[in-house]
């Protein structure tokens, strides 16, 4: 009995730590969505599909064009950043004065487009990078280097965005525009430019997430569906546009998924997370940090 509990604890600890590692990438995705929502007041339903395109980008650069991983990653981040800017320019910008729900549904159309584009262009086969990173054994616990790397890179990405937002003029304008849109021209700020830059950053974050997720998961046209919904729940629970709330909620959800997955399949972790979310809506309807517009 005693020894059983000992092993159990090790597994539990491993799951907790893996949850934290997963939380990093989820927090990265939530940050991207929150940034776009906070600044432009739209939600990109197709956000996870941008990640999917980025994962295919990594697959092709690494497997087909034989680029090393470290060279392919910046290209993919740039590619998805451009995709984000294009999404804003082509779909959101013409709808800026339309009701917000229309903008949101239009990005739903883009979700269709990206999924079916991937189906047409890449087929429905599961593909992977063929890179197998070793596993770090700590005592009786195992952690994949892929997860550790993802966590580190996600954290670095978030710190990078934080520095950009706090240290640069454009970053300050991005934070300011969410607080008072109308007077931005008085500061000499062209909101259109800020929107475009924000969309590119949001895309870039999706690109970074793609580079990290592709280390752990196979890519297929519908891979976005497996982490898109969870990202939305995180953003709603943390409060849309609330960076800190999203960050905390990401780790809460990651723990639930990781611990739920300990007892059965990963999908049940998602179900638990959703159940938790519904319960939280009753307890704290205004979100984790209760600052909602």
């Amino acid at each position: 009995m005693q020894s059983f509990l000992g092993i159990f604890d090790i597994y539990l600890l491993e799951a907790v730590i893996n949850g934290i590692l997963l939380g990093g990438v989820l927090a990265l995705l939530a940050l991207g969505l929150n940034l776009i929502f906070g600044v432009i007041d739209v939600t990109w339903i197709c956000y996870a599909e941008l990640v999917m395109i980025g994962m295919y980008g990594m697959y092709y650069l690494v497997q087909v064009f034989h680029l090393p991983y470290w060279a392919a990653a910046p290209l993919v981040i740039l590619l998805v950043a451009l995709l984000g800017a294009a999404l804003h320019f082509l779909v959101i910008a013409p709808l800026l004065t339309a009701p917000p729900i229309n903008q949101l549904l239009a990005t739903g159309g883009v979700l269709f487009i990206l999924q079916s584009f991937a189906t047409v262009a890449f087929g429905i086969d599961f593909r992977n990078l063929g890179i197998r990173l070793p596993v770090l054994a700590l005592g009786e616990m195992n952690f994949s280097y892929a997860r550790l790397l993802s966590f580190g890179a996600a954290l670095a990405g978030m710190i990078g965005v934080y520095l950009f937002l706090t240290r640069t003029f454009t970053g300050t304008a991005i934070r300011a525009i969410a607080q008072d849109r109308q007077i931005m021209p008085l500061m000499g700020v062209d909101p259109k430019r800020i929107y475009l830059v924000t969309s590119a950053i949001g895309g870039g974050l999706a690109g970074l997430a793609a580079c990290l997720l592709v280390l752990q998961y196979d890519v297929h046209p519908f891979v976005g569906l497996s982490f898109g919904p969870i990202t939305f729940l995180i953003c709603v629970l943390g409060g849309l546009g609330n960076f800190i709330g999203g960050f905390i909620a990401a780790f809460v959800f990651a723990e639930i998924i990781s611990l739920g997955g300990l007892f059965s399949d990963l999908e049940w972790g998602y179900v638990l997370a959703f159940a938790f979310f519904i319960v939280m809506m009753f307890i704290r309807p205004a979100g984790l940090l209760s600052r909602r517009a």
Binding site: P94, A98, G109, I113, V120, I230
Partner: protein, 336 residues
């Protein structure tokens, strides 16, 4: 008004008579699909027209289909009982998710994202319980022994299915009309206009929204069950998940959500389009139809937010007004 009623009756009689005159099985098949999906899209629009944009309906449809089939296969429960049970399941889930949403005024983006997650989760559950549901490979209700077709709600005859689907579709329109003429409509319109004002005027906002959500979810689950019984094959991707939810929104928008026949027009356009694409591209069409769907959806939202039927009716009613003039307020698909 009378002329309109007469027209509707003649049209309906023509639709009933159709399978006895035109027996092409492929055409009947497409018509059955159109009727079933029209019913599903109408169900969505019953909520959507009041600004309750749900992306969770893929979940309700999936529940309707899977619960009915699972009860039949594993417990031998006839769909005659299974379908009401499946509808009840969807209804309960709808209430569980919708109650906190409405009670705590979760609207706009938040509501869309919550419901979106709901349909995503239903898809995950169907996939996760692959030992029972067959997972992403799909699921087939067991064939009933011969002579038990009625009990199992399984018919080989396309004409029978056509008439069933027609009846359900008409029922959907009747429900739409009933809501249109009831107090719920006024209450919901007041709510979508301004929730606080409606509440101040004595409207029980939460209760009214829940009512309309419940009706919509029950109908959607029925559509899912019918689809399953007709196709005798379901997979998570075709009856549940975000893609199906978006498909409903898309068709409803293309047709127009403010007119009773709008969702039907949307179903005709999208299904005919999908069939045409499927036939002209052959097996290479996988994905192409959705690609066109997506592009059209985006274009529609940008250029024709009222849908085809809504825009046409607008133009007939006030021909001088341009459909998207600068002065004219652009009608939202849904108010926030």
């Amino acid at each position: 008004m009378n002329r309109q009623a007469a027209g509707a009756i003649i049209g309906l009689l023509a639709l009933v008579a159709l399978p006895f005159v035109h027996r092409d099985p492929y055409h009947l098949h497409v018509l059955v699909l159109i009727l079933i999906w029209s019913f599903a899209y109408t169900s969505w629009s019953i909520m959507g027209r009041f600004g309750l944009v749900s992306l969770g309906h893929g979940g309700f449809m999936g529940i309707g289909a899977y619960v009915t089939a699972l009860l039949w296969n594993h417990l031998g429960v006839s769909p005659w009982i299974g379908i009401p049970l499946a509808m009840a399941t969807a209804g309960v889930l709808a209430l569980i998710v919708a109650y906190p949403c409405f009670r705590f005024r979760i609207t706009g983006h938040y509501f869309v994202l919550v419901t979106l997650a709901l349909s995503g989760i239903v898809l995950q559950v169907i996939t996760a319980t692959r030992d029972y549901t067959g997972g992403s490979l799909g699921y087939t209700p067991q064939r009933a022994p011969s002579g038990k077709g009625l009990l199992a709600l399984q018919f080989d005859d396309k004409t029978t299915w056509y008439l069933i689907a027609l009846a359900i579709w008409v029922a959907g329109l009747v429900i739409w009309r009933a809501i249109d003429r009831s107090m719920i409509r006024h209450a919901m319109e007041a709510i979508s206009e301004d929730e606080d004002a409606a509440a101040a005027a004595g409207v029980n906002v939460t209760a009214e929204k829940l009512k309309i959500t419940l009706i919509s979810a029950l109908m959607t689950a029925l559509a899912g069950a019918l689809y399953c019984q007709y196709q005798m094959f379901i997979s998570p991707d075709t009856v549940s998940g975000i893609a199906v939810s978006l498909q409903m929104v898309f068709a409803a928008i293309v047709g127009g959500v403010y007119v009773a026949l709008g969702p039907t027009v949307g179903a005709v356009i999208t299904i005919v389009l999908a069939e045409v694409l499927r036939i002209s591209f052959g097996t290479k069409a996988v994905g192409w139809d959705n690609l066109v769907y997506g592009v059209l959806l985006v274009l529609f939202i940008i250029f024709l937010p009222k849908g085809i039927l809504g825009s046409v009716i607008d133009r007939i009613k006030s021909p001088r007004k341009p459909s998207r003039g600068h002065e004219q307020q652009i009608v939202p698909i849904a108010r926030r």
